[in-house]
């Protein structure tokens, strides 16, 4: 599992990999919050249940990350670990799981720039040589 931030002049590209699509999505979520706060300082004291659906895997990635952005504002929590299950449902895909974190504490979490949204630019979810790779560009 790995997170890599990619150069984009105005915004921030994100690539995450995992052994399974679930791991890759969880890494991407860590990459999203890692861009905004010091991940290691966030204790998984509270959790939030999430369920989303989309018609394709790349769309599911955008839905997943934008859902987490919304939950950050709605709950005041920032998240550092995730547990999800992804499955095909009908003509599309469904993700269910939990995000773990705690209320944002600027003194401990060392905030950086806020991610405003998840764009479709360079969006990718692909299985390559036994590992899953996901990629997107975040508007910062």
């Amino acid at each position: 599992m790995a997170i890599e931030y990619l150069d984009h002049t105005a915004d921030l590209g994100l690539r995450a990999t995992g052994g399974t699509i679930e791991e890759a999505f969880c890494e991407a979520a860590r990459g999203l919050f890692g861009a905004m706060i010091a991940l290691d300082a966030v204790a998984p004291r509270r959790s939030c249940a999430l369920g989303i659906a989309a018609e394709s895997e790349p769309d599911l990635l955008v839905e997943w990350l934008s859902e987490l952005l919304a939950q950050k504002d709605l709950t005041g929590l920032v998240f550092s670990s995730f547990d999800v299950r992804i499955e095909r449902r009908g003509n599309g895909w469904r993700l269910e799981g939990r995000a773990f974190g705690e209320p944002l504490d600027p003194a401990r979490h060392h905030p950086r720039a806020e991610v405003k949204g998840i764009s479709y630019l360079g969006l990718e979810v692909a299985k390559q040589a036994g590992s899953w790779q996901v990629r997107c560009v975040m508007d910062v």
């Binding site: 002049t9 769309d59 504002d73 709605l74 944002l104 630019l121």
Partner: protein, 486 residues
């Protein structure tokens, strides 16, 4: 085929990307050689996210009129390039979420105080502290104005006027905000509950990233007549507020990207890049997004109105200046979509103009400017970055003819945030700025490195290119004294 070998220089600061392939119109770029070199380098190096490629993609959208434009602060965005302008025929054209972006109506408010630099100096430090304390900024900051859903709907409909009704600022402010601080035809029904819920605690917050609040001195007046009309005098103290529509705008962007994906398919619109999903302007989906974007715009106007009030309170508390002595010079957005009248060829036409990282820059005589600015055209507010100057400019007749009356919005980034964070060290940036007499208060040291002045193009060069291209004219240069960053 990357097309750059065909980039034609038609004037010292004007370049044409000729129409070819899927392009319906040419691309037209107003920039200096250095910017063109960096744009072509992106293509030559095979950069996946190239601004020139984005200009070509915009030029391929249905109903685009005249040309896909890029202004001197152009750099890669998503969908449209930043510094990009695209105008569309109302019958044949499309409305594009990626032509506005997530931060709908992000923009700048400029306030003029009665203080001179000499009068400001003794309490500069205390004022910085007071602004840092009073103006919520940075990740997770919450505003003082908490709204119910019903109240949010009123704010979305009435924009800055609603903030004034709630006691933030004065009614005179409204005349000096683009579109009176209230974009018509905003329909809160087109905005999701989630977008409204995310905004409950975010009205009157600055945000983070490149958003800022600066106390600046008018360092140089270059156009005395316009400066006099705008109430700017050399040595005077002004305040710039750079912020946007916060979470509400971000959620509208996210919601409508999804909706437009479906619409693009429904209307069988060929999409050169997924971020350019769109709908016909006259379609139900197109009208809904236009009404939602108007809500986002009003939210941003209200947001800056509330922040302006907090700034007045801080200056009042520290310097004893009364709120009504601090005048709104202008408030202008640089991520928007608007129906406007422009003369294309000989004929005036109603067009839908998208500006992404670009402002309106309407010349003298246009009725959209406040009456006091009719003879000069409204101010164009060009944001700097901490150590660098900001500019007040104005539109020109030529800009009306060739650029749909558009203006530059800032220096434009040169380095990615990743490269900037590697290149600059927050503490060093802060000490360099302090040596230059610029006091910075920030919620994020890392953010300071990412936003270091060296991560941006030279604003003087960008202003010169816009001036030499004839689309904008400088009125006054503002130099920062106090910077508040999220």
């Amino acid at each position: 085929m990357n097309g750059i070998e065909k980039l034609e220089r038609v004037a010292p600061f004007e370049w044409i990307l000729p129409r070819e392939g899927e392009m319906r119109v040419p691309g037209r770029i107003y920039a200096d050689e250095e910017t063109i070199a960096s744009l072509t380098r992106e293509v030559e190096e095979g950069s996946e996210w190239s601004a020139l490629k984005q200009v070509r993609h915009v030029a391929a959208l249905p109903g685009i009129v005249d040309a896909a434009l890029a202004l001197p602060d152009v750099h890669p965005g998503y969908g449209f390039p930043i510094g990009g302008v695209g105008a569309f025929d109302l019958d044949e054209g499309v409305i594009v979420v990626g032509g506005v972006g997530f931060d709908i109506n992000c923009g700048v408010r400029l306030l003029a105080t009665p203080l001179s630099r000499a009068e400001f100096e003794p309490f500069g430090h205390r004022l910085g502290e007071e602004l840092f304390r009073r103006v919520p900024a940075g990740l997770g900051a919450e505003g003082t104005l908490r709204l119910t859903i019903g109240e949010i709907d009123q704010l979305l409909e009435r924009g800055a006027a609603y903030a004034v009704e709630r006691g933030f600022g004065v009614a005179e402010d409204l005349a000096y905000i683009e579109e009176g601080g209230r974009v018509a035809d905003a329909d809160p029904e087109t905005v999701s509950e989630r977008a409204k819920q995310r905004q409950f605690r975010q009205v009157g917050t600055l945000g983070s990233g490149n958003h800022y609040l600066e106390i600046q001195a008018v360092a140089e007046v270059q156009d005395p007549d316009a400066a006099a009309a705008y109430g700017l005098r050399e040595g005077g103290i002004v305040v710039s507020i750079h912020s946007g529509s916060r979470a509400l705008g971000h959620q509208i962007g996210q919601d409508y990207l999804k909706e437009m994906t479906v619409a693009s398919r429904k209307y069988e619109i060929p999409i050169p890049e997924r971020e350019l999903v769109c709908a016909p302007i006259r379609s139900a989906e197109g009208k809904r997004y236009l009404a939602a974007a108007a809500c986002g715009a009003n939210c941003a106007f209200a947001n800056r109105q509330v922040i302006a009030h907090l700034v007045r309170e801080a200056i009042g508390a520290v310097a004893g200046v009364r709120a009504e002595e601090i005048r709104t010079v202008y408030d202008i957005g640089h991520n928007h979509v608007k129906v406007e009248t422009h003369t294309v060829g000989e004929t005036p036409r109603r067009l839908l103009v998208h500006r992404k990282g670009s402002t309106r820059a309407f010349a003298a005589g246009r009725p959209e400017a406040p009456p006091a600015y009719r003879s000069t055209g409204h101010p164009v507010l060009v944001g700097g970055t901490m150590g660098t100057a900001s500019y007040v400019m104005r539109g020109t007749e030529r800009g009306m003819q060739v650029a749909f009356g558009s203006g530059i919005h800032g220096a434009g980034r040169a380095l990615s945030r990743k490269k900037a964070a590697k290149t600059f060290w927050g503490e060093h940036v802060l000490s360099d700025l302090e040596s230059a007499g610029i006091r910075v208060w920030t919620h994020s040291r890392r953010g300071i490195a990412e936003e270091a002045p060296g991560a941006y193009k030279d604003i003087e060069r960008v202003v010169r290119a816009a001036t030499e291209a004839g689309i904008n004219r400088p009125v006054a240069r503002l130099s920062p004294l106090v910077v508040i960053k999220g």
